[in-house]
């Protein structure tokens, strides 16, 4: 039904003078229930739809979207998009993907869990309550809470082109988060832990989430600043994943054709230590980042971005690929202003050492468990972010550290990878094992 609506909209665009058009329709239902200190805090229900349209008039194009799916409004949006496309400049690289390249069947990636949503709001809130209760009970120093949340989301995605292609698929997602607050002698620290999955049954149990969050908060108590120094830095899996996201950003087509990327002209060259293999795989059944096709109807696939330290592929949609003289890698996503690119399931391949062994290999260094701020320059790779974590002394986690920064350059950092943990868990869209980087500057006193 979603696809039918899209097809009728695209027909109108052609009738108004568009030479080609494509559209994406997202419909979703969302529930979120938050509890705090055992009491229900905020419950919200949402019911959203958004239709995004891209219209080509010859080689010129424009995008439009609306949350109002009434007939009048849709007609208006089509007319406006077509009018906008008449004022933009022609672009020889603009256009839909070759129809022959579009996905043929529709693989069942097992992304939906219709039965998983069949809980009453009370039962959903009870899951959040269990997570928070476990956090509060875990340690005497857990004295407060920012709350715990359960959410679930059912979505339906449809894509169609004016050439007659139309496909749709449905997804589910579920999540539980707990954010307890620990305190000791006036020092207060918050941390959180979460689980998210396409199947409700695959969520970590609420007690594990609560206890993990509590332990993360308590271990930050009593943090101190260290003296400014250059040392090995170990990133825990959550924070190592943020380094992968930064690398993927620099590998994205729009950054490259704008020459705003430190990975420009580096395809086929060494960009990381030989131990680094970075895979993007949108075809994994039941995974959070999986999708059968991208935002332009191209089948998702498994891509090695970096293989044994060598940059093997960029992340491209049809437009950026044509600009770069390449072909799409099927990473298009629809966003507010048209098409951009994103990863699917992005994973740094694990090594053999346990996290404990990686830490034990460091005589004097920093184990990072929290990063804040936006100090990553995608053009140069220069990297400087606020950090908190634990200091490593003689291979042991010795004491908590806060109010410091870690700085370097992403290319130098990936070249200096000296250890990759064996602790990869596909618990989110971008995941990493524990990562040891040989040298970074830690700024403090």
């Amino acid at each position: 039904m979603s696809a039918d609506l899209l097809v009728s909209v695209l027909k109108r665009a052609v009738a108004r003078g568009a030479t080609a058009a494509d559209g994406f329709l997202i419909e979703e239902k969302h529930f979120s229930g938050m509890v705090r200190l055992g009491q229900v805090d905020t419950v919200s229900h949402a019911d959203d739809r958004r239709l995004s349209l891209r219209v080509f008039v010859g080689q010129a194009s424009a995008a439009a979207s609306t949350s109002d799916l009434s007939r009048d409004s849709l007609e208006h949006v089509v007319d406006e998009a077509t009018a906008l496309a008449r004022i933009t400049a022609p672009d020889q690289f603009a256009g839909l993907p070759d129809p022959g390249a579009l996905i043929e069947g529709l693989p069942d990636l097992d992304l939906s869990d219709p039965g998983g949503h069949d809980l009453s709001p009370e039962e959903k809130l009870a899951l959040a309550q269990r997570a928070e209760a476990a956090a509060l009970a875990e340690h005497a120093e857990i004295t407060n809470s920012e709350g715990a949340e359960f959410f679930d989301r059912q979505a339906r995605y449809a894509y169609a082109t004016s050439h007659g292609f139309a496909r749709e698929y449905a997804t589910s997602s579920f999540g539980i988060t707990a954010s307890p607050v620990a305190s000791r002698n006036g020092d207060m620290q918050r941390d959180s832990w979460y689980s998210t999955a396409r199947k409700r049954a695959r969520l970590e149990d609420p007690e594990t989430i609560g206890r993990t969050a509590a332990r993360r908060a308590v271990r930050r108590l009593g943090g101190r600043k260290v003296k400014t120094t250059e040392v090995p830095v170990v990133f825990d899996p959550e924070n190592a994943a943020s380094l992968l996201r930064a690398l993927a950003g620099a590998a994205s087509g729009p950054s490259l054709y704008r020459r705003a990327s430190f990975l420009l002209d580096r395809l086929g060259t060494r960009v990381a230590a030989p131990s680094v293999t970075l895979i993007d795989d949108g075809t994994l059944p039941g995974a959070l980042g999986s999708r059968p096709f991208d935002g332009e109807g191209l089948a998702t696939r498994r891509t090695a971005l970096v293989q044994d330290g060598v940059l093997q592929s960029y992340l491209l949609d049809t437009y950026s690929a044509r600009k770069l003289g390449m072909t799409s890698t099927h990473h298009a996503v629809r966003d507010g202003s048209g098409v951009s690119v994103s990863t699917t399931n992005l994973m740094l391949q694990p090594g053999t050492a346990s996290p404990r062994e990686l830490i034990a290999s460091v005589k004097n260094g920093f184990y990072v468990t929290e990063l804040i701020g936006f100090g990553v320059n995608g053009v140069t790779g220069d990297y400087s972010r606020g950090a908190a974590g634990l200091w490593i002394e003689n291979g042991e986690l010795a004491y908590p550290v806060e109010e410091v920064t870690v700085a370097g350059n992403l290319l130098a950092m990936f070249a200096a990878v000296e250890g990759i943990g064996n602790d990869l868990v596909l618990r989110d869209r971008t995941v990493s094992p524990t990562l040891l980087i040989g040298r970074m500057v830690v700024a403090g006193n």
Binding site: A62, T66, R220, S384, E403
Partner: protein
């Protein structure tokens, strides 16, 4: 949509959706009155338009329409929120039922919220809202920006310039019978440049705007200044040396570096975090949290500013709230829920990204008042330190108080003089004591150009900041030069 329809939100929603204030009252009264502490309906209609120039021509244009209604019911500390993007009586009633379900399970504890007090301001009525300005004029401006940025320096190899315009029409009805509407124009011109020399590349970005007409960009050739500033930043960074690492004296330039205040204290003074006792500032009203030179206000009533509002998203007129007065913590930023629970007055800071989100206490325009020092003397007073004049984003951990903000244009200070430009670096500090080390405050208070967007709980809202030149005696700079 025609411009005349924009003038009166009450008419706009009744004409378009047959939803009148009296109908909203009926929904609120029938479903919610007497069973909750507070309830409201928020209607919103929004148009966004963006034109993007890259490689010398505008190849990207987009237009987005969104509309919807959010219904909220509150009892005690509980909030029920439901929204729909199909504005109709049936859906409003269903949303009210969902919102009430949560509030029903609590006992309403206190008296009904007070009726919205005071009249809304009139801060940004425009003869021609930017969304209605001819596309041809916007295209022309972007082409001129492109030429100006390229002409500024031959090393500029890429220019990405955009004009974004927005118009939001809202109508808010509360359970106490208060109905208020607002029409909010917003526009922004942004210029990103990439400079290249000898295989090195750097990025510059500059821009501005506000709740202003399109002609704002033409006045005093503002567009040209944005273009040349962006180009200057990008080319300057080609010669930047590694930023220092460690704790040193930092001088912040006027204007946008006021993001320091937003991160260091602003978020920590939002009512929700303080009611819950999870802010590093909780329970510290009346205490010295900054040097005596420091007075910080949040002011949502400055005409035409990006962070200003006639009324907040709960219908409360915005105000000017003194957060820190001569170093002493004076007040919090409040929405209705948290002010009711804390026994304080709402300050007009209840804001939401859209109808799809419940309101939260948020900042508007946050700035430090001017001091007595000559900015030149502030620089001269520093033997060795960092002078930072432009920043990217920032972030704060409310509970520990640790905050960061990232300099995108900064220089070494040597013997009181501005020295070599340094690469971008993150500055880190602790909110409750960072401002105690402010030892000089210039007389040159400047508000930013109108580019700020603040994120909290996944909700983005436009904000402003401002600062005079200040000296901070010790702050940790996260560079790589040890």
């Amino acid at each position: 949509m025609t411009d005349s329809a924009l003038v009166r939100p009450e008419h706009f929603f009744s004409d378009r959706f047959n939803v009148t204030p009296s109908l909203m009252e009926t929904v609120l009264g029938g479903a919610l009155k007497g069973r909750v502490d507070d309830a409201d309906i928020y209607l919103e209609y929004r148009i966004n338009e963006e034109l993007v120039l890259e490689e010398g021509s505008v190849k990207k244009a987009s237009r987005h329409v969104s509309q919807g209604a959010g219904v909220r019911a509150q009892a005690g500390t509980r909030t029920g929120y439901a929204h729909t993007d199909d504005i109709s009586l049936k859906n409003l009633e269903e949303a009210a039922r969902q919102a009430r379900a949560i509030a029903d399970r609590a006992t309403a504890t206190t008296a009904l919220a007070t009726q919205g007090a005071g009249r809304p301001h009139d801060l940004y009525t425009l003869e021609e809202p930017p969304i209605l300005t001819d596309l041809a004029r916007k295209l022309e401006l972007l082409r001129k920006v492109d030429a100006a940025a390229r002409a500024a320096d031959p090393r500029i190899k890429q220019v990405i310039a955009s004009v974004a315009s927005e118009e939001v029409v809202t109508l808010i009805a509360t359970v106490t019978g208060w109905t208020v509407g607002d029409v909010r124009p917003l526009t922004r011109l942004n210029v990103t440049t990439i400079a290249e020399e000898n295989g090195k590349r750097e990025i510059g970005t500059y821009g501005g705007g506000g709740r202003v007409p399109f002609d704002f960009f033409l006045a005093d050739e503002r567009w040209k200044r944005f273009a040349t500033e962006s180009a200057r930043q990008a080319t300057l960074k080609l010669t930047a040396v590694d930023a220092p690492a460690g704790t040193m004296t930092v001088v912040l330039g006027p204007g946008w570096p006021g993001i320091l205040l937003h991160e260091a204290i602003g978020h920590g003074l939002e009512g929700d975090f303080n009611r819950k006792g999870v802010s590093a500032f909780a329970g510290r009203i009346g205490q010295q949290v900054a040097s005596e030179l420091v007075t910080v206000v949040d002011d949502g009533t400055i005409p035409n500013r990006r962070g200003s509002l006639n009324v907040d998203d709960e219908g409360t007129p915005t105000g000017r709230t003194v957060l820190i007065e001569n170093g002493v913590l004076r007040g919090y930023l409040q929405d209705k829920l948290n002010s009711r629970l804390m026994g304080m007055a709402p300050t007009g800071n209840g804001r939401r990204e859209s109808y799809a989100h419940p309101p939260l206490p948020r900042m508007t325009n946050t700035f430090m008042l001017a001091g007595q020092d000559d900015p030149a003397d502030v620089l001269k007073s520093v033997k060795h330190g960092l002078y930072a004049v432009a920043f990217g984003g920032g972030q704060v951990d409310i509970t520990s108080g640790k905050f960061v903000f990232s300099a995108s244009e900064a220089y070494l200070i040597e013997d009181g003089r501005i020295g070599a430009p340094v690469k971008g670096a993150t500055l880190i500090g602790n909110g409750p004591d960072a401002l105690t080390r402010v030892s000089m405050v210039g007389g040159d208070l400047k508000l930013d150009e109108g580019i700020g967007t603040c994120g909290k709980d996944g909700q983005s809202v436009p904000v402003g900041v401002g600062l005079p030149t200040i000296r901070i005696d010790a702050m940790t700079v996260g560079g790589t030069a040890v």
